[in-house]
Symmetry: C2
Subunit: 153 residues, 2 copies
DNA sequence: GTCGATGCAAACGATTTGCAGTGGA
DNA sequence: TCCACTGCAAATCGTTTGCATCGAC
């Protein structure tokens, strides 16, 4: 199982990197494995990822973590988010449908949402202004159910 | 005209600041004047604002510009935006209806939009997840009409 | 007179970069 | 072999902060 996933990743990565004269190095392999084996919808910062990798026998430098993350964002393997916490957060996008986020301003919890009607309206809005959309960022900030009830208590 | 605006600002500011034991100092006055006299929908960085103020007889320190901007954001007099340009941008919100933004990824031009249906749907989404919304950020990135035609040429 | 506000310069912190050495293809 | 990649440390850069002084109320 693990073995399959790993070799799948390698093949996938090699393919995606190869046509741009990019090499599949050990650090990239280790980073990609860690990211792709994370559970869906998990958001992590570059530093958090680095911390996780540091514990592994073969550590990876922080600079390489940043460089590789930027590479993976470019390759659409991960997505970059700014939740207003002063640092960027990342999320794997392989085999994940597009979605946007609800963010709790009190505890930081993040919930995903997707709404076809909003997606459609965005296209309408863009068309009206003559824009050709390439991507969007839609974040709703507020208090999550847990924090709301805690506050009432 | 100018005189009226100025005293109006002073009164307004004094009012808004007073109940929190905040003082209406000269730097705050100068900064507020500059911001409120800017044309609607103008986006500026802290540094740009500071540059403008520097030319004035009475300069203001950059630290104070930052501190005052944060104060004005808190007081809902200006709004803070992150357009992914590596620095924060501000926009006066006094006498301005809520709106979101279309951002050109090529030239950086910003166009406003507002859509009641999307606003409504956001509330529906929040309700479904049990969130109580306090604010949101909705940004559409793409190529503006100008850049699209330039690219075709 | 008080205490909040200011200016200055130093501190911060996430991210990037220069460079010499390393290792995929 | 060749050139992209890596690790390390230093550099960046927008923003914040410590502290002595200043000034609004």
């Amino acid at each position: 199982m693990k073995k399959d996933l790993t070799s799948e990743i390698k093949t996938e990565l090699k393919e995606r990197l190869h046509d741009k004269d990019l090499k599949l190095t050990h650090p990239r392999e280790v980073i990609a494995e860690k990211i792709l084996s994370a559970k869906a919808g998990e958001h992590f910062s570059a530093d958090e990822l680095w911390e996780k990798l540091r514990k592994t026998a073969k550590g990876v430098s922080k600079a390489t973590v940043y460089r590789t993350l930027n590479l993976l964002v470019e390759k659409k393997i991960v997505e970059e988010h700014d939740f207003g916490k002063g640092q960027k957060y990342y999320e794997r996008m392989v085999e994940r449908p597009h979605h946007d986020h609800l963010i709790c301003v009190q505890c930081g919890r993040i919930v995903e949402f997707e709404n076809a009607e909003i997606e459609r309206l965005q296209e309408v809005i863009a068309r009206e202004s003559g824009f050709k959309l390439s991507y969007h960022s839609h974040k709703l900030f507020g208090a999550c159910p847990r924090c709301r009830s805690r506050r009432q208590a």
